[in-house]
Symmetry: C2
Subunit: 220 residues, 2 copies
């Protein structure tokens, strides 16, 4: 199999569109989440983000990279104004609606209405969940940090509520994301579903790992 080497210069010489497609896929597959916020005037906003990631389990923290000058600028402003937001897993059934949320709608137009998703208000934060999502997370802003290298902002959120379908949580706490139908993004625009290979035991030096997958182990 022949390989190609991309130097810094090769990457810089790509067209803007090629560079965006290339580097966005480089990090590997990304989670697909709908970011729910509410403006100070009460308008529900929904944005597709592939930049949400795990930061820590205790305290429960998630992070997100936001671009202040792109289509998600309304969401970022709402987060700064209200200090809360929701993340809702995109699943197979709402892929097209989720992608459509990335269109540049006017600030006064709710993406919920435009794409046909249903807001579900949280009892804990002033931001809407997506009713059609099977894993819904409410967060409070813990910190917002400017990344000077590209003027993006790293939003750190503390998880304050999770609403999840019952049969997705197993006895050991693991969430079966395939049961939830959670989707995966690569690059800017490619959507994927997954197929589990296995769950592996905790690795130790000089000891072979074994399968620990047991789907019947649903938490009740």
């Amino acid at each position: 199999m022949s390989t190609r080497i991309f130097s810094q210069q090769t990457i810089a010489d790509l067209s803007q569109r090629e560079q965006v497609n290339f580097v966005n896929a480089l990090s590997g597959f990304k989670s697909a989440n709908l970011l729910g916020t509410q403006s100070t005037r009460g308008i529900n906003n929904l944005a597709l983000v592939s930049s949400a990631f795990h930061v820590g389990a205790n305290p429960p923290l998630m992070g997100m990279i936001m671009r202040p000058h792109t289509v998600t600028r309304d969401s970022l402003q709402n987060i700064k104004d209200t200090s809360v937001f929701t993340l809702n897993h995109v699943n197979q059934g709402i892929l097209k609606q989720a992608h459509q949320c990335a269109a540049r709608y006017a600030p006064e137009q709710s993406e919920f209405d435009s794409v046909g998703l249903t807001p579900q208000m949280s009892n804990v934060v002033a931001a809407p969940f997506v009713q059609q999502s099977k894993v819904k997370i409410a967060l409070e802003v813990a910190q917002i940090t400017l990344i000077e290298q590209n003027e993006t902002e790293f939003v750190l959120g503390k998880i304050v509520e999770v609403i999840i379908e019952n049969d997705c949580v197993l006895n050991d706490g693991y969430i079966d994301l395939e049961q939830a139908g959670s989707a995966v993004v690569s690059g800017l625009d490619s959507y994927h579903i997954t197929q589990r290979v296995d769950r592996f035991s905790y690795p130790k030096p000089n000891k072979p790992i074994h399968s620990i997958w047991n789907r019947d182990d649903t938490k009740s």
Copy 2:
């Protein structure tokens, strides 16, 4: 379908293991990368990370959340000592070896030898790639920032070299991660492969999206 609500208190009341499994899966599917570093004494180190993420395309930046007090502490020290590292996509063929890299080996023991992967030195950075990986990325540290809320460190890296199999890069710059066999992680220990649903056109308000997937469009 019945749902369960996890409040902050419900999450705090989980056992430590349940909480770790639960919150690690909450953000959605994660990229699976092998982090290659070299110590100042020349020992090659390899660690499995599911915390690498896209930060920006221009300049090309990736980020990673590192835990200073866990099994990856040798990797983090090497990164601080040498200011460089590599990220190598885990593919279907090396899943067990990759998971085994998360075992707590002694600092003087190279995970490459222990799990049976092959180091491939970069011409650009003093850190090893994983020969068996089909998407190899060399990075220079741009910045390391402490996240005070949980004492993790946010490592921001500038992409300085990419080595990739030729048939994985399409004409528009998009990397076909399924062609590369790149794997996905959920939680701490579940591995998945993907199946593409579609690539969608750039979304615009009031205009239906359409498929732009054309696998024959390989960049030459």
